[in-house]
Amino acid sequence: MNVNLIRDRLFKTVVRSCFALALLGMCGEAAHAGPHESRAVMQQHIIKGKIIDAEGKPLVGATIKVKGTAVYAIADKDGAYTIQASGQAVLVISSIGFVTQEIAVSGRTNFNITLAEEVGRLGEVVVTGYQTVNKRQFTGAATTVKATDAKRDGITDVSRMLEGQVAGVSVQNVSGTFGAAPKIRIRGATSISGDNKPLWVVDGIILEDVVNVSNEQLSTGDPSTLIGSSVAGLNPDDIESFEILKDAAATSLYGARAMNGVIVITTKKGKIGISKVSYTGNFSTYLKPSYSQFNVMNSYDQVSMYAEMERKGWLNFGATSRFPNGGIYVKMADLINEYDETKGQFGIKNNPESRRAFLERYANANTNWFDVLFKNSFMQEHAISISNGTDKSQLYVSTSYLNDGGWTVADHVERFTGNVRATFTPNDRLSYGLITQGSIRNQRAPGTLGRVSDPVSGQFNRDFDINPFSYALNTSRALTPYDENGNLEYFRRNFAPFNILNELKNNTIDLSFIDFKVQGELKYKILKNLKYAFEGAYRYAKTNQEHSIRENSNMPMAYRADGDATIRAANKFLYRDPENPEAEPIVVLPYGGFYNTNDNSLKSYNLRNSLEFNERFKGDHQLRVYGFSELRYADRQFKNFNGYGYQFDKGGVPYLDPNFVKMIVEGNSDYFGMERRYDRFLAYGLNAGYTYKDKYNFGGTVRYDGSNLMGKTRTARWLPTWNISGSWNIDGEPFFKKQTLLSRATFRASYGLTASSGPATNSSVVLLNAATRRPYLGERESAIDIINLENSELTWEKLYKTNIGFDVGLADNKFSLAMDYYSHKSYDLIGLIRNGGIGGEAVKLANYADMDAHGLEVTLGAKVLDHSLVKWNTQLNFAFNKSRITKLKNEPNIWSLIGPDGGAKEGYPQRGLFSLQYEGLNKTNGTPQFINEEGVVSDAVYLQSLKTAHLVYEGSIDPKLTGGFFNNISYKNFKLSALITFSAGNVIRLNPAFKSSYSELDAAPEEFISRWVLYGDAASPSIPDKREEGRLVNSFPYNNYNYSTERVAKGDFIRLKQVNLSYDIPAKIASRLNLTNCSLSLVANNLWLMYSDKALNGQDPEFFSSGGVAMPIPKQFTLSLKVGL
């Protein structure tokens, strides 16, 4: 049952009544001439009563009308009404979702009326964002989720509310950081290089992304992911319902943007006759992660591993003092070298006993970095909404405030939202409304730079990474955050002192996000069956990222590290003057730190005109025709500015060394940049639906899209999409009535073409200016580079969707079953195609790839118990999806297939994970060996090789099976619900742990306890000795091991996502407190990973530990209070 439709119906009813009232002059003095009713003939009585549903709950907002007149009344919050009518009058009582009743007054003055629910007719509507269609007449595959069902208290991002709710919608939390979008897919991936993100639509208007964060980018942990979720600015309390549109018929009106499905969000409106103030308060706390979940060596084992490293020549005294990075051994070397004149001795005596004593403290430290860096923090969320409505105007106003103290010491989020929605209905023909929505977000995150993939060594690198989660997992537990005196203890990074707590305090990203939308709508009834509607929206969003790297954090210190000639020669952050090649490198950041900003803004508007015709002919035939034209416009601006030498603690005055700017310019970098992008979109669409005898429905849509992303020719730019669909309400057939097992049955089928614009923009040749990459300023000049050649054949990515489904209700709708089978045939997908290069572009993006996918979705619902006291509902949904790339001309290299994100290869799923075939350890030195690109056993594999035949296919990156299992038991005023989500059929690359050389900063996983030490044992790879490492120049066997068949786990998991226990304070007590309702709930989110592959060893099957700002989803407990006035 969809509340939104109820409101719409209600609204229409009211509009009609009001119109009649106006005509008849009963509700105002503006009397019209010619009333047919005789005015004062009959004696008027005051009739009172209460309108309730079958369960005895008051039907707030039900209308009571005196038949044949315009006199009406609306039931109040207790369902009570008062109306004047004559003794002979007939009352018509109606409420959306209930069967309308007519009752003759017959002289009585008190009626308590019970309305029966209108099963299977009303309530089941589909809001497509363009139209609202009765589910009985809807021919597509769509799932409605009421916000009250999906809302998970304590979950602040709307996009995560759909987890486990809908068959075929998979939500993968690749990062749990606020603002980072989960990887959402409706019916799997449809494109190979495109985004595969569903389209978000809020109140009929497409929500444009401020920045487009691709699926691969989602898991990078880069700062841009913080603004990846387009719905992070929505107040979850404002949401009325979600509609997930899946097949071609359901998404038809979105035409060339509908390839990945559509999620339509409807927000709340004011309700007629109800004046209500609601408050929701959520108070949450997180659990700190604990080492027991993970597999990290304790400090004792760790120091014993260092001892082996020392034996193998990695930590020789003398060399250690010149290491750019180091922990306890480097510190020891420093102390041995440090002569204290006052005491007349060295920091540590250079003898085995003193050294041992020094190391012992650290061997026993067993630092709990999670304790140091994480907090059981407090998050509060308050939302207040006021809803008010009369027959002529309805108002909904809400505001919310979120304050998340942060799970780690480095993050913090604050969000304000405001929402005003007003609807006016001055007369029966006209209605108009305004929505103003805004949100402000302030967020702090650990300072981070972008991640870089290095295909030569096979590593992902991020400079100056201080992500607390990765730090806790990857930093040796032998290091200590505080020294013996309780002061921060510094170790060495980039030749400069480093302490994580100091760093997290002094290297931060402050993100602010302002999002503002005004939306207007106007509806006018031209004829009884013809409506015109206009919708327009303007949205302005701006984000600002301030990356403050204060002077005493590691990065500026690294720029100032010039201790001795060796360090000066090795420190890459010093300036080398190209004009003076023999000069020593010098410091060019003598004072201050960095102040880097990154601004993105979006200005968009959206205009739509539509005409809707809806007529019933001769009782049995109903025809609906809907036509529209739409214009979308979005301008985006991206700005960045890097400030050098900013002195945070000296009044914010920058200290500029001109050599710094010279260094930047000579390094072909820019210290600022600005870029604009323009989206222009036009669409025309026509949709028609025909229903015969309320049993047979046929629908069809054609839509014509044009975009400035496509070529300038008519054929490239404009794309027609279409679909046909039908449904059969079997329960309307006479034979259906003869049986009792099934209470409801509908069969649906649809077929059609949808599309997406794809990631290529080279409809014309793409030329970009850049400075030539030459070392001397005098040799620089501005050059224009051909980025992409023109592709006159560039066109939209397209997809034929077929869907067959049925919905069945059994045993008086006690059980329900919905099942859909679909088949996707994607073609003209954009893929990389390697060609001979003779045209000037050896690897082109072109429409040269095809992919097939199919899947099955099942939703089972049951009212297991339906007592007046005890109720038990359960719902199980699951979906199966399998994709296969049938054509892809690109030859991927090894590196692109073995990484955690997998790669695309013909004959395999959209993203398949491949591994190097592990061939055991070298018997003499414990170096891992693999089958290399030539099919030969070797420790070296050339990762950039295009010869991928010897790789082992492990499986798909995306789960084949996803689903959720939901149970809700209520007893009296208590309610207990639990949501279990599950997913299966994918593989996961284990986090990389092996290297050819280890720094004594790294924490080793426990695999290292069973490392190869002596000849011949089959263990995990050895720690190479220094000489061995020298032999391994340009071959990276230890790193290759990370990407071998040994380092893969199954992605299957079952997770107890949420448990919710709530208690409704009984109405009596509530009303004594002057409250209409009051409830209290205790919610546990992400409570328990019930099952996952043991090989994961504590690694989360959903989370990509990529550093930066990425953080897993915490275990969270929330107390939620809901009060209505």
């Binding site: 972008g450 870089v452 400079d463 090649p581 005409l611 036509g627 034209s629 214009l631 890097n642 072909n668 870029e675 604009r676 323009y678 222009r680 036009l682 026509l686 054609v702 839509r703 014509y704 044009g706 400035n708 730019r717 404009w718 027609p720 279409w722 030329l767 200016n769 030539t772 990459r773 030459r774 070392p775 001397y776 005098g778 040799e779 620089r780 000049e781 050059a783 224009i784 580079d785 051909i786 980025i787 050649l789 006159s792 054949e793 195609i833 390697r834 060609n835 001979g836 290069g837 003779i838 045209g839 000037g840 572009e841 050896a842 040269y848 295009l946 010869k947 120049v1033 340009n1034 071959s1035």
Partner: protein, 491 residues
């Protein structure tokens, strides 16, 4: 198509009922800030990328007889595959395929410029750029035909497969091309060169050393005609490079006191600087060559050093080069790396080397060789003596040049123990060039032009020989060219 029109008509019909109608202009907005080629200045900027930004040195040097197996060191397929006379399937890095792709990218830039220039009504302002585009296009094709086809031969070039000579811009995904013949490619190069050279105007260049100036174009012409065995033209254009002045002032003064006092980094830096008069044309190329040529496993060894630079040479003196490095890292500093980090603080980035593609020395040798072939022995000897005066010293203990080091035709005949004057001159030129262009990949071009065999020793003692007729001397085309209707080289 019919269906398409029908649907279009229906929709447009409906659309016209509504408020918006055919707003093609609205959709003409470019989606990003891409550049439009709408001025001579922008054409000039586009032509800054009309030079193959790739490095051929790694594969030409590794294939040549300037390298040997050190027994240890970095092994990169870009270095090892050519050493073993095998095709390198790598498409990035310093592979032949990468050079192929970069050369055609440069050609594409030239063709895009020409496409716009040819549409201009007032062509005057565009003329100098037309000249540059034509010569740049000719140069890229010349390098391609030299590396990927058999060397020019009066006997077989009419039938030897060439490389596609591209004169239009590609606007479809997979264009169709033809290889035609080496002779055809040479004709096309000559046509573009002759048409382009007179249009060039040096004053239009902001950084002339990175563009085809008149001298650079002449240096190219001198090389082109030498390879084409048109020696008269080769001499003519070589002399035009420095306007018939002596080359002496332009040669790297390796034996000067100042030069010999340079430290390693300084030597490295000055070698490829634009201000160095010896450099006639430079191009920036992403390559790891500068950082790896000393440490590559298959590189310059002490055996080679004693054979090439320390043994007795025709002058009786000693090469003045300061040779650096230990046993396994012997090198002459020539390439200062320009490392462009991905972001300012990043560890990763792209290393660039400035590659001297035309130099005073090379042009001098080209003229000397052409003169030798024409029988102008005196002129050839004069050039060689100019060269000697800049590169040799009497001995390490007498580190200065002396006129006694000069050569004469008799000295050559005696040293090379031959009566063939042309041949001894050629021998001397090849010997000088081999040392002069160590680590610069030039040796390979002499090997193919003069049919010299190359021998490489494997670590197991086996000796690989690349004979004069070996098909492996012609680098293999990228496999994907077959999708454009092109045949690969025989193997």
């Amino acid at each position: 198509m019919i269906k398409h029109t029908l649907i279009s008509k229906t929709i447009l019909g409906v659309a016209s009922l509504l408020v918006f109608s055919g707003c093609n202009k609205y959709l003409d907005q470019a989606p990003d800030m891409r550049t439009d080629l709408n001025s001579p200045e922008k054409i000039g900027e586009l032509l800054a990328t009309a030079y193959p930004q790739a490095n051929y040195i790694t594969f030409t040097e590794s294939m040549s007889d300037n390298v040997s197996d050190k027994g240890s060191g970095a092994v990169d397929p870009d270095n090892s595959m050519p050493y073993f006379f095998k095709d390198n399937k790598n498409t990035d890095g310093d592979s032949p395929t990468n050079y192929w792709n970069a050369a055609y990218k440069a050609i594409s830039a030239a063709n895009h410029a020409l496409e716009i220039i040819d549409k201009q009504e007032s062509a005057e302002a565009y003329k100098p750029f037309k000249g540059e585009a034509l010569v740049a296009r000719a140069y890229a094709h010349f390098m391609l035909v030299t590396l990927f086809s058999k060397p020019y031969s009066l006997q077989t070039s009419n039938t030897d497969p060439g490389i596609p000579y591209v004169t239009t811009t590609e606007k479809i995904v997979l264009g169709h091309y033809e290889r035609k013949t080496v002779a055809y490619v040479y004709d096309m190069i000559e046509k573009d060169l002759k048409e382009g050279m007179p249009l060039i105007n040096d004053s239009k260049y902001k950084v002339p050393k990175y563009h085809f100036t008149r001298s650079a174009a002449s240096a190219f012409a001198a090389r082109f005609y030498l390879y084409k065995k048109d020696y008269t033209n080769s001499v003519k254009y070589a002399s035009a490079v420095f306007s018939n002045a002596s080359f002496s002032a332009y040669l790297r003064p390796v034996n000067s006191t100042e030069y010999m006092s340079y430290q390693y980094n300084e030597l490295q830096a000055q070698y490829t600087r634009a201000v160095n008069p010896a450099n006639i044309l430079l191009v920036e190329a992403p390559t790891a060559w500068g950082r790896s040529y000393a440490t590559n496993r298959y590189g310059f060894t002490s055996d080679l050093m004693s054979k090439l630079t320390t043994s007795v040479n025709v002058t009786g003196g000693t090469w003045a080069y300061n040779i650096y490095g230990s046993e396994n890292t012997i090198n002459i500093p020539k390439f200062r790396e320009h490392f462009v980090r991905l972001t300012l603080n990043a560890e990763s980035g792209i290393p660039y080397n400035m590659i001297p593609i035309f130099s005073a020395e090379e042009t001098l040798f080209n003229r000397a060789e052409a003169n030798a072939m024409l029988g102008n022995f005196d002129a050839a000897i004069d050039d060689l003596n100019d060269y000697i005066a800049s590169k040799f010293i009497v001995s390490p203990s007498l580190p200065f040049y002396d006129e006694s080091l000069q050569v004469s035709i008799d000295k050559l005949l005696e040293f090379y123990d031959s009566a063939d004057r042309t041949q001894v001159l050629i021998n001397c030129i090849l010997d000088f060039k081999r040392v002069n262009f160590l680590f610069e990949g030039e040796r390979w071009f002499d090997i193919i032009r003069h049919g010299l065999p190359v021998q490489h020793k494997k670590s197991n003692g086996e000796i690989l020989t690349l004979g004069p007729k070996d098909p492996q001397r012609v680098f293999q085309l990228p496999e994907e060219v077959q999708s454009s209707g092109i045949e690969l080289n025989p193997r």
